[in-house]
């Protein structure tokens, strides 16, 4: 029966043949347990790190990890923050959208949506786009939270927990949905520009028909890369959604691009480097199979992935060989890592946030 469902054993860690880089921790701090809410992600902006946790505690840290301000709220934060018009936008399990001032964390506004928010919001100077768990997509005014437009799409009977990011560009918002389709909405009116299926549900039982597009979307100039759990990875033209190429690869985590490789970790935690022009595989790294790998992050010429035991692995972008490893958090990394100004930020499931750098092995310090 379907391969996806066999309970597989994770690969053991192997000795690294020729280590070239090592992780050097800058600082680390503790936030409340994120209870598997992959939509709660640290925000790197203006040299600062903003992070909110599931107990409602929001804090801003500087590049050295010092707390600039911290605000205790009783919102059951479950997604965000996104930066919009100087405000940090969060979603909550009680179905609210909340905006707090990025300067001091005071609440600017909060509004009711129709269901819990687990998809990370996105925003910019004059628009916030949020998604509620029941398939609705909202366009809000970052100033006062007033609802500009709403779009409604049905949700299959059984879906994958978690949701990918939403991308925003000058004229459209791109959303990967739980029904296996990607939709582009006009950012001012909310009208759909185009809607394309990444995977179509197949199989008899509900579980075989899961096709969520939960992996983070990736926008590279005007090509949108999207991957679904249903087993397809597609490159779409942002102008009209036409499929440039398509290949079979199931992923629920995310992708990154370093100019040469389109990196993606698939559902069995194999790290791929694909040719962005046709999706052909340049190399694949399967020594970390079934270790619940996070989305890949291109960093200083290599690519980083973290696994379910909190190890971060550095992989050579040339041939995919593992060239470094370091334990960064004490449990799974179930959300994409982020980098800014040469520092990588990783938030573990248990709530530990660590900033670190990767330096060549033989370098001093």
């Amino acid at each position: 029966c379907s391969g996806k469902s066999t309970v597989a054993k994770p690969e053991p860690l192997r000795q690294i043949a020729d280590p070239q880089v090592r992780g050097e921790s800058r600082w680390a701090t503790k936030t409340a347990d994120s209870q598997g809410l992959s939509g709660l992600r640290p925000l790197l902006a203006a040299g600062r790190v903003f992070v909110g946790d599931s107990k409602g505690h929001i804090q801003a840290l500087d590049a050295q990890g010092e707390t600039l301000w911290s605000q205790k709220t009783d919102f059951r934060l479950s997604a965000g923050p996104a930066l919009a018009d100087g405000a940090l936008i969060f979603g909550t399990l009680s179905g609210q959208a909340v905006a707090v001032e990025a300067s001091d964390g005071s609440v600017r506004w909060s509004t009711e949506l129709s269901s819990e928010v687990i998809a990370p919001p996105v925003g910019d100077r004059d628009l916030v786009v949020m998604r509620s768990g029941d398939g609705r997509i909202y366009g809000l005014n970052p100033a006062d939270g007033e609802r500009r437009w709403t779009l409604n799409r049905s949700v299959p009977a059984l879906i994958l927990r978690g949701a990918g990011n939403t991308l925003l560009d000058s004229n459209a918002a791109y959303v990967g949905m739980d029904n296996g389709r990607v939709i582009a909405l006009d950012r001012t009116t909310g009208e759909p520009l185009w809607e394309e299926a990444v995977s179509l549900p197949t199989g008899r039982s509900e579980i075989e028909r899961i096709v969520d597009v939960d992996a983070d979307l990736l926008l590279v100039n005007d090509v949108l890369f999207a991957a679904s759990y249903g087993g397809d990875l597609v490159a779409l033209a942002t102008t009209n959604g036409r499929t440039l190429w398509r290949r079979s690869l199931a992923s629920y985590t995310g992708m990154d691009f370093d100019g040469r490789c389109l990196y993606v970790t698939d559902a069995e935690a194999v790290l791929w480097c694909l040719d962005p022009s046709n999706g052909a595989a340049i190399w694949e790294q399967n020594q970390l199979k079934h270790r619940g790998l996070s989305a890949p992050l291109a960093f200083k010429g290599n690519v980083l992935v973290s696994d379910f035991e909190g190890y971060m692995h550095a992989v050579s972008s040339a041939d995919g060989a593992i060239i470094g490893r370091r334990k960064v958090v004490d449990d799974a990394v179930n959300r994409p890592m982020q980098a800014a100004d040469g520092v990588v930020y990783v938030l573990g499931r248990g709530g530990r946030l660590r900033a670190l750098d990767w330096v060549p092995v033989n370098s001093a310090g």
Binding site: C1, S5, T6, V7, Q35, G36, L93, S94, G95, S114, S115, E116, G133, D134, G135, V155, A157, L158, I159, L160, R161, G162, R204, S205, E206, I207, I210, Y229, Y252, A267, G292
Partner: protein, 743 residues
């Protein structure tokens, strides 16, 4: 093959089946014309038998050759690894599908079963399951089938998140859910296994929770069920829109009421100005349906329809009555009574044939049958007579209980130590419902022969008559006290006269001759004094009367109702000794919570002499201690002592109260043949009523288990810890066993 006239038919390829079996299914016969149509039809017929994998028609001259390939027979069928989904319903499903040894194998059937098992695993959250089937060919066209199941771990519910609830917080709402998120502290938690049926049930429960509190516009716009990528955790999100609570503005009736409106209004639990509650409305409707069914409208339907006012939050409850036709009972049938005569059951009927149907009469009839000592279970259902819209048959199904107890050889009774005795008690003698008991007893203490015969229906209206006679010769001691012999012989005739459905009057006469002989060295002083004052040979004529009211739903292992019984046995003036014995018995069943109920047995017994008899004969004294009175104490050992031997002497007044908290057990036989209870007994016996003192009462608590055995009647095992006790004189008997009683 070109169409031709069939001159002969022969078969090829048959291995297990007989040729004429094939011919019997073949719609063609010699002389028919074989053409396109008839051959198609014949092929289809043969395939429909399910016996053949492949059928081919050949022609040899004028003979039609039917070459068949029989389906292989299944020799062995094995499934392993399936402990979660399986058991006998699966075997039954396989047998029905024809996948068992001896049947014919069909691949499509096996795929169906594999698919069905997978579906069942998914439905119970085993998303990691893999089901593989292998078919191995054997010789002689036989196959053996093996299904391997690898279950993996079931997905557990990680969280249930209710969004949009203002009036009640998640915690209270989730309280009534059958499903619940995994709670670490609950070790053997099973309600965190996801199942779609249970979720639908919980949603149903959620909406009735709101409806019962007036939220008539409550709605669940959408529910999301999501699974973590590693298929271990399930997240359930329920989006609700509560709306506002509605207040009851008034109640009205519509439709054909049959009974008067103010009669119906008494049955309405919905009160004005309360917030509307669907539960109360439904319950009121059920009461009305019940009353209508009591007067013949067996299929009456009463729908409580809330009518919302446009403005504001008010609702008027409109009870719409659809009585249907007044129904009559065509026939009453009994099934399952292999050892009981039809009349023994039919005479308990409060519903007659050829009469208007009455629900409470039928229900009361069922209870009366269930109360019979030889009936363990009685169920009834009302079946509409096909072809008529107002006739029903009432079908009773009874499960008979072993009718009596046969004791033989060595018996053990708490009060008299080891007895060699034989006793036969049969409560359904030859199926007539008459109770017969014969008791023979000879052991070192007493020789007894006693016979009793009870006919519950001496008259068609249920006047019962009991005839009893006994001869008892007991040397040494009675209840090992007071060292005297007594021989007595007597007989009695007692009638039970019903004076209402639940109460009856007791009337009877008894005559008894007793003689005591005492021994200076062994008999207690009190007895010697009694004999000195009143003599040692007595002939007594006894008048028996009493009144009883019994609303229990069963006589053995009752769970509801109560029994009050007052008896007075007066030895008539002019007998050699004159005394009277009065007793009051209360047995009451009080439901407590969720299936647990209490059984209270209170007894007061008082005996007093009158006329020139100086005191009550010692052999008539009440004794206390043991199974029937205060458990945990040696039988009959409580109360006053005689001098100088310090044996229990009994007394004139006995007061005992036994409180059993009956605990429901998962046993299938619970409250049918077995019962487990925790008990607290308190009581004692006093020489004179004036001696009664609260702190003189002895009490104990413990655990009791009753089992209705196939042959020995009711067996009661109890283990008790004495609480209020005086160790210097009380003799404990923590573990006690008693059988043969119960009816």
């Amino acid at each position: 093959i070109a169409p031709f006239q069939i001159e002969d038919i022969s078969t090829q390829g048959l291995q297990r089946l007989e040729p004429d079996t094939v011919l019997s299914y073949l719609p063609l016969s010699v002389g028919d014309q074989l053409n396109e149509a008839s051959s198609q039809q014949a092929l289809r017929a043969l395939y429909n038998t399910g016996l053949f994998q492949n059928v081919v028609f050949l022609r040899e001259g004028g003979t039609l050759i039917v070459r068949v390939e029989e389906r292989p027979a299944i020799v062995s069928f094995e499934i392993d690894g399936n402990d979660k989904v399986g058991g006998d319903e699966l075997d039954q499903a396989l047998a029905d599908a024809g996948l068992t040894p001896g049947e014919l194998f069909r691949q499509s059937l096996l795929d169906q079963v594999k698919q069905e098992m997978q579906r069942q695993y998914y439905a119970n959250g085993f998303y990691g399951v893999s089901v593989e089937a292998t078919v191995t060919e054997l010789d002689n066209n036989r196959v053996s089938i093996k299904i391997d199941v690898e279950e993996g771990k079931p997905a557990k519910i990680k969280s249930i998140n209710i969004v949009g609830n203002q009036a009640f917080d998640d915690e209270t709402l989730l309280d009534a859910f059958e499903l619940s998120p995994t709670q670490a502290w609950r070790l053997f938690q099973s309600d965190d296994n996801y199942s779609k049926q249970k979720l639908l049930g919980d949603l149903e429960g959620l909406s009735s929770f709101y409806m019962d509190r007036g939220y008539l516009r409550f709605d669940v716009p959408s529910v999301q069920v999501s699974l973590s990528p590693d298929k271990r955790d399930i997240y359930i999100t329920i989006n609700v829109s509560e709306g506002e609570p509605y207040r009851v503005e008034g109640v009205k009736f519509s439709g054909e009421l049959i009974l008067s409106e103010d009669y119906l209004r008494q049955l309405v639990l919905v009160r004005e100005d309360d917030t509307f509650s669907r539960r109360l409305a439904t319950q009121s409707a059920e009461y009305m349906e019940g009353s209508l069914a009591n007067v013949g409208y067996a299929f009456a339907k009463v729908n409580p329809m809330p009518e919302l006012s446009e403005d504001g939050q008010d609702v008027t409850v409109n009870f719409n009555v659809v009585p249907g036709k007044r129904t009559y009972v065509r026939q009453i049938t009994f099934s399952g009574n292999l050892k009981t005569n039809d009349e023994t059951l039919r005479r308990e009927m409060r519903q007659l044939e050829g009469a208007v149907f009455s629900r409470n009469h039928v229900e009361r009839s069922r209870t009366r049958i269930a109360r019979l000592a030889f009936i363990q279970e009685a169920t009834v259902d009302t079946i509409p007579v096909p072809g008529s819209d107002d006739l029903v048959d009432v079908a009773f199904t009874v499960e008979e209980r072993p009718p009596g107890s046969v004791q033989f050889g060595v018996g053990f009774s708490g009060s008299q130590g080891f007895l060699v005795n034989g006793s036969l008690t049969h409560t359904n003698f030859l199926g007539t419902g008459n109770r017969v008991s014969l008791e023979l007893e000879n052991n070192q203490i007493a020789d007894t022969i006693s016979v009793s015969w009870t006919d519950p229906y001496a008259t068609p209206d249920g006047i019962s008559r009991t005839v009893a006679a006994f001869y008892r010769k007991s040397e040494g001691v009675i209840r090992y006290s007071s060292g005297f012999d007594s021989n007595s012989i007597g007989s009695s005739l007692t009638y039970g006269i019903p004076i209402s459905e639940y109460s009856s009057f007791r009337l009877g006469l008894g005559v008894e001759e007793t003689s005591i002989n005492t021994f200076a060295t062994a008999t207690a002083d009190e007895v010697l004094r009694f004999v000195a004052e009143n003599g040692s040979n007595f002939t007594t004529y006894e008048f028996r009367t009493g009144f009883g009211r019994d609303t229990r739903n069963r006589t053995i292992f009752a769970t509801r109702g109560s029994l009050n019984r007052i008896n007075l046995d007066l030895v008539l003036p002019g007998s050699d000794i004159e005394f009277y014995k009065a007793s009051y018995q209360l047995q009451h069943y009080q439901p407590l919570f969720s299936g647990v109920f209490a059984e209270i047995n209170a007894n007061i017994g008082y005996i007093e002499n009158y006329g020139d008899t100086t005191t009550v004969p010692p052999y008539e004294h009440f004794f206390a201690g043991g199974t029937g009175t205060v458990r945990g104490y040696r039988s009959g050992s409580l109360g006053p002592r005689d001098t100088p031997y310090n044996n229990a002497f009994g007394g004139k007044l006995r007061t005992t109260v036994q409180t059993n908290i009956v605990i429901p057990t998962p046993l299938e036989s619970d409250n049918k043949t077995t019962r487990l209870s925790v008990f607290y007994d308190i009581g004692n016996v006093f020489a004179e009523p004036s001696d009664w003192e609260y702190d003189e009462l002895r009490s104990s608590a413990g655990l009791a288990f009753e089992w209705f055995t196939p042959f020995l009647g009711l067996l009661e095992l109890s283990y008790a810890f004495p609480i209020e006790t005086d160790p210097s004189i009380d003799r404990e008997d923590r573990f006690q066993i008693n059988f043969g009683g119960g009816f």
